[in-house]
Amino acid sequence: MQYEIINTGGSPAFEDSHALLTQGQAKASTLVIVGNQAGLAFRQLSQPQRYTLILIELGLECLGTHTGESRGQEGSQILGFSRFRLGEAPSTNLVELVRQPQSVESAILTAKALLEAKGLQVSVCADFAGRILNRLIRPYYNGALTRLDEGLASADDLDMTLKLGLGYPEGPITLLERTGLQHHFKATQALFEAYGQSAYAPARRARVAYERAQFASLSASEGPPKKGQS
């Protein structure tokens, strides 16, 4: 399947060497825009109607931020997508393909086929903050961190219970510390702002990790303290 690609750089989940980014063609009726400025690049397109499918890589924002929306009737050949990645872990192969109420069904099918041809798995979802995965895992992670603080069980026992009892490949505490608790903080904070539900409120441990990461980046930019400075 042929497609054009615009890579604005700094994709949150794709390496520049990924097949999706390297196999674009010069002229095609499908356009894929990736990178941390994908939405901006889309809004600067002079002729978006030229394409039968445009895929915009999303960060935490909704697709509607780029397409505009009205009366719950929004939707066209423009779709969003986000490849799931947990903090510093390598990206997963799961892509959340974001549609709107009136999205063109054939565009959704084409998008699925295109992404699957690049070895990715696709879950279609509506245009809600947190989509599928963040909506489900962030409250669970916050709960695990909070319960650890409250002494429900030790970190090892919490992890072992969830692994042995539910067959999860890794317990939540090990997983979060491995992938960076500070990243969990940012993801869940965004959902807390969007929904105002306490389940999304960042757990204390996540906030602490985030604050420590802030100190670390501050002192890195300031350099070591000089003698005589207070």
Binding site: C125, L162, G165, P169
Partner: protein, 291 residues
């Protein structure tokens, strides 16, 4: 020091039958009590089938199985539980039913007999309070299916003696199980995390965020879970999920623990999951497709 030689299991349903297999297989003399003879008969049949498979798969010899089955008896007479050094209770998930049976066991069993409950959502302290021996009482929450799953969540009640808890812990290890210690907290660890997580997945379906298959695929593919939440719910049964969720919600009042309205509607429509052929997925069409 407790020395456990004879194990009692009260309640011969899904869990009781599995726990009895675990105890007998570990070499304990095991007595299963149920007030319903047909439940005992059913369990005996399932147990024989289970061990026949173990022989077939060469996990156990026929000789070993014969000796295990010799050590595993059942009764409808509560007095027969008098010989037990520990009684693990797995009757209905209802505080009054559990209080009643423990109160009767308390009259029959010697004072040193340990009492344990396999409750999923009730408080160990509360059950213990009606047992007549709250200091000699622990929570031992096995996972389904007990004969295959190694994990046991173990919780002391507020008045459980350390010595009692330690003895139960040693016993759990001797069963060949893996105990983890948790507080006497609603849902312990597993259900405390699993039930709200599953409810959240139902809410995504309810709100039209995604189809069940898309949600399950995302969870399995991105996180490596063996099953997605909605296929798991279909397996557990929406009626059972509703009961557990309501029990958890009534003790925690955490909004995520409450079963979403869709669950009630699905139950009313007979869409209980695999057992009725329709839940979040349709199994009728699958069966026809495969057949």
């Amino acid at each position: 020091m407790h020395s456990i030689k004879t194990v009692g299991v009260a309640g011969s349903g899904t869990m009781g039958a599995g726990i009895a297999i675990v105890a007998a297989r570990a070499g304990y003399k095991t007595i299963v009590f149920d007030r319903d003879q047909s439940a005992l008969d059913r369990a005996r049949q399932q147990t024989q089938g289970f061990f026949a498979k173990s022989v077939e798969r060469k996990k156990l010899t026929q000789e070993k199985v014969d000796s295990i089955l010799n050590g595993l008896t059942s009764t409808t007479r509560l007095e027969d539980m008098a010989q037990c050094d520990i009684v693990i209770e797995a009757v209905f998930e209802n505080l009054k039913v559990k209080h009643d049976i423990f109160a009767q066991l308390n009259l029959v069993c010697p004072p040193q007999t340990l009492f344990a409950s396999n409750t999923s959502t009730l408080s160990i302290t509360e059950i213990a309070a009606g047992s007549g021996r709250d200091e000699n009482f622990v929570g031992m929450h096995f996972c389904l299916p007990a004969q295959l799953m190694k994990l046991v969540e173990m919780s002391p009640g507020l008045r459980t003696r350390t010595e009692t808890f330690d003895a139960a812990w040693e016993f759990c290890l001797a069963l060949g199980q893996i105990p983890v210690k948790t507080k006497d907290n609603p849902g312990f660890i597993l259900n405390y995390f699993l039930v709200p997580f599953n409810n959240d997945a139902i809410r995504l379906v309810e709100a039209g965020v995604a189809e069940p298959a898309d949600i399950d695929r995302a969870i399995k593919s991105a996180l490596g879970y063996p099953m997605g939440p909605l296929e798991l719910l279909d397996l557990v049964g929406l009626d059972t999920h509703w009961l557990v969720a309501e029990a958890l919600y009534s003790s925690t009042h955490e909004p995520r623990a409450a079963a979403p309205a869709l669950v009630k509607r699905m139950i009313a429509a007979g869409q209980l999951g695999r057992k009725t052929g329709q839940g979040f997925y349709s199994y009728k069409t699958n069966a026809m497709f495969g057949g």
